[in-house]
Point group: C2
Chain length 239, copies 2
DNA sequence: GTAATAGTGTCTCTCAGACAGTATGTC
DNA sequence: GACATACTGTCTGAGAGACACTATTAC
């Protein structure tokens, strides 16, 4: 919290009285937006138009607006919407990165969030400078944003094994094969078709879209969607 | 991160040039220290000796020292050592809490950590004002520290089901029954003796202390310790 | 001997993985 | 018909829970 320790003769710069003993840290939020296009994971990067790291791609991020943001999650949501137009993604706090060297302007905090959306959501209106890049082709990002991206990918990989998070990466309607491919991509692991389907059936968060099929040069595949009432975030079983 | 957004005309207060557009947030760290005494979970609280929340117990915490701390984890470690004398606990980032109201002095961030130690470690030298309290008797804490404490207990509960975190709460040498009781306490769930032992055996992070036993009015119990080379943080199986 | 706790053996049921087999579309 | 992909059924082995049984101490 935000209380001086007993032997810690310092105050905050935020409210008047005394001068702070310790230089204040910079505080900001960053967002790793992940989505799936053509069986590949993409993230959004923004080309910086000013120093530091001018001209380099970075994750979308920015300062907290202490006048208006109710918390850091709201700041992340606002930042993401400004860059990409996306309003209500799945958004979860990832980790807080900190230190004197990650931003050349000084000792800084970044509260990182990750967001999962489907490609229909992301296609709408991207701000100039923002663009989708496959996660395995992002190259060097400004600040410590490669580390943050890797952290998000690892978190998604781990959490997918006991949650339905990958569903957020798909459009509202999808086939079981598409869902399985998404899990395999995210978890970097092959899954067995029949047990995958059994488990999904048992968990019961999918709803058959009666009479709706994905067609092709083969047998049509049943379309499903998430049951609107179900939470996708925690299972007692492994997927 | 720590970069102005394109349309975000603002700078940081940390390094000179321009004036910040947004008031800076207060930044601090807080630590939930957990330990086990007589089959009960305890945490450390510190009575505040100044406003806000003067006289109320709070979690140990304080400002980041941007001149010396290499990151927020180091700040948490330093803070904890100052209050309790504990030097090298298991220490993991928990969550970052933020908002305009959690600290009456202004919009604030707190990067919360939780630490797990055994009672022998904690008994050494507690600072004046710091004391151990059973987690179910802490009462009202200053700031939003009850929420942070609950968050830590929940995290420990969740993570214990697939890790050996509860081992950090016990002394170096312990019996299997003691370990099982610790798991049950933390997970709030009864465990089956024989399968618990089977699983520990299979995971192989315990080492028999040959010829060493805990005695009492009954059959002596074999003492174990953690195999020094083993990581306790991630298992592929459930405990 | 009894009480108390430590530790083991065995049965059963569930479930995940393997894999083969069937179904239904396009061409 | 061949092919491609969707979907289902069955076998097997691993492991978790239940629970009874044995072991070793103090008294």
């Amino acid at each position: 919290m935000t209380h001086p320790a007993e032997n810690d003769k310092l105050t905050t710069a935020a409210q008047p009285p005394e001068a702070p003993k310790h230089k204040q840290a910079i505080t900001s939020v960053d967002v790793v937006l992940l989505t799936l296009v053509d069986r590949r994971l993409y993230t959004v990067v923004v080309d910086r138009d000013r120093p530091p790291f001018e001209g380099m791609p970075t994750l979308p991020g920015g300062y907290v607006h202490t006048e208006t943001d109710p918390d850091s999650r709201a700041a992340a949501r606002r930042t993401l919407e400004k860059k990409t137009g996306i309003k209500a993604p799945y958004l979860e706090q990832l980790y807080t990165f900190s230190g004197p060297d990650r931003d050349p302007r000084g000792w800084s905090f970044s509260v990182a969030y990750y967001a999962l959306v489907n490609k229909d959501t992301v296609a709408l209106r991207m701000n100039a400078g923002a663009r989708l890049v496959p996660v395995d082709e992002v190259g060097e990002l400004g600040f410590d944003h490669n580390e943050i991206l890797d952290f998000a990918l690892k978190r998604l990989q781990d959490k997918s094994s006991y949650s339905a998070l990958p569903c957020y990466l798909l459009p509202k309607e999808f086939t079981l094969t598409e869902l399985q491919e998404t899990y395999e991509l995210v978890m970097k692991e092959r899954l067995e078709k029949s047990s995958f389907r059994r488990k999904l059936e048992d968990m019961g968060f999918l709803e058959v879209l009666e009479g709706q099929f994905r067609t092709g040069k083969h047998r049509p595949a049943q379309l499903y969607r998430i049951r609107p009432d179900k939470s996708l975030t925690l299972f007692d079983r492994t997927v």
